[in-house]
Subunit: 338 residues, 2 copies
Amino acid sequence: MNIVITGGAGFLGVRLARELLKKQTLALAGGMPQAISRLTLVDRAAPPADLVADSRVRVMEGDLNALLEAGTPAVVAEGTDLVFHLAAAVSGECEADFDLGMRSNLDATRALLQACRGLQAKPTLVFASSLAVFGNSPEQPLPEVVEDTTLPTPQNSYGIQKFIGEQLVADYARKGFIRGRNVRLMTVSVRPGKPNGAASSFLSGMIREPLAGVRAVCPVAPETPVALSSPGHTIDGLIRAAEASDSDWGARTAINLPALKTTAGEMAAALARVAGKDVAALIDWQPDPVIARIVTSWPAQIHAARAERLGLLPEKNFDDIIRAYLSENPYAASQPAG
Amino acid sequence: MNIVITGGAGFLGVRLARELLKKQTLALAGGMPQAISRLTLVDRAAPPADLVADSRVRVMEGDLNALLEAGTPAVVAEGTDLVFHLAAAVSGECEADFDLGMRSNLDATRALLQACRGLQAKPTLVFASSLAVFGNSPEQPLPEVVEDTTLPTPQNSYGIQKFIGEQLVADYARKGFIRGRNVRLMTVSVRPGKPNGAASSFLSGMIREPLAGVRAVCPVAPETPVALSSPGHTIDGLIRAAEASDSDWGARTAINLPALKTTAGEMAAALARVAGKDVAALIDWQPDPVIARIVTSWPAQIHAARAERLGLLPEKNFDDIIRAYLSENPYAASQPAG
């Protein structure tokens, strides 16, 4: 089985790649498990050394639009069975640079779909859409609980571009050009590594940095509700989307992944419980109206009915998410002095 | 006031142009009425002679994408106050030729929005979306009554492209590049003239042709429910969208125009009542599974709450629609022999 991951050197791409290589096989769309023989990682950056060293891994480094335009070597080569399309410009970038977002998120998705359409055998494409398709506004308040069938009303360009991507994936699937799987990812926390340009970046930073003994800013009020999913659950959702049969999957519209409903203040309280009050005291509560406006426009409570039917459930509490982060990133916590 | 109509030589474009020239003024977005000094009609075909002869009318003949790419003369010239974007490839064409639909409906809409964005003063853009964004499918049945907030699940490429257009218009409006008005047109009946490539073409033809003494095919079963609007009400909806203030208009998502709920069989019965049984007997009931599949995937009952708040109401019965057609098209009915 040949698999392509766009954004394959990003945080989720790398984690997905490692998980797939560890699994060794994948049962595509309800079929028999098949050995994963080739994993192509497409990204502007190079993936980590452990992935590059795996004989099954092929690396394509470059801008996705440019690689697709060049055509050779093919991003989606003949014989590709499965594409995870994770590559995207993040929400903050798209809001700051409209044209960049349109190119990175809309044009690239369309070009990738065209490449898939050109294959002799129909590939499966898992599209990583986002919670950001849902936006709250005074003219159109979000319902308290967001369902799979709730009308998305995106309040930023990133959300619009992801929602357009869902429509393209749905129609390419309907036309039989691909097998399509639209999956809306929730805000992922705790992400390891460094802050990125996403408006949601602080939702990892406010946990990750204090654990490493570094001060971190929380730019929203403690009572701000947020819907979160751990990295592990997010990867489970992407793989389940690829493995679900067409009938188990159902409609071509997107499914919401499950999310834990919590608040910035509850996250800080969980950090204090798991790592101590001194660690939680490293959070600086400094409201940023630009970030707060974006984050508070996202839904806080998700009812992921379709995902639940596929066996995907939300985390039970944020304490467990912090503990999972610490066990997966043993060097993340600062060592006691002396 | 300078107004542009894309698709300005089409049936709705011509009717809209005539209505605007007759009105002479327009109160844009709740402002004071202003004289309509310039009306630019953009279309692949030439508009009728009465429009060409009006000193306020400027004609731009050609493919919308090609005209926008050429840039000079500008489709949307500096000083444009209002654009009605009606130009589109119709549903049948888009289903037969996927790439044509993407180019005509998605690329052209995006290029037009970019042209609007380039103006010094923000124009208003009224986007003619469609009932076809709603699609029924076994995996995702439509609710019995479709509301403004119902999640669109298009079942054909035309519907997907229109729904993507709505998203683009909403985001260009949110960014302040345009004032946006997304309006979903219902199936228009009775259209004068000739059949076109739309899957819904028969919903006019089965009335228009028999009235002219010509046999016509109805390709769906008599009990097939349909939601219709007269040409007059449709034009009223487009003009109301331009004239509504931002606060009266509300959310950037699309509004459904009102529609009369009827069936193909009831339409034939109305034709018999208005024009006689002999006329209605000119309808040939010949099921066409391809057309029937598209038409039965559209919703039959619309609750147009936002349009109603703007004072737009559906027709009361189909008999009135036929009578309006006959009064507006005095030569449409065949003359008695002798």
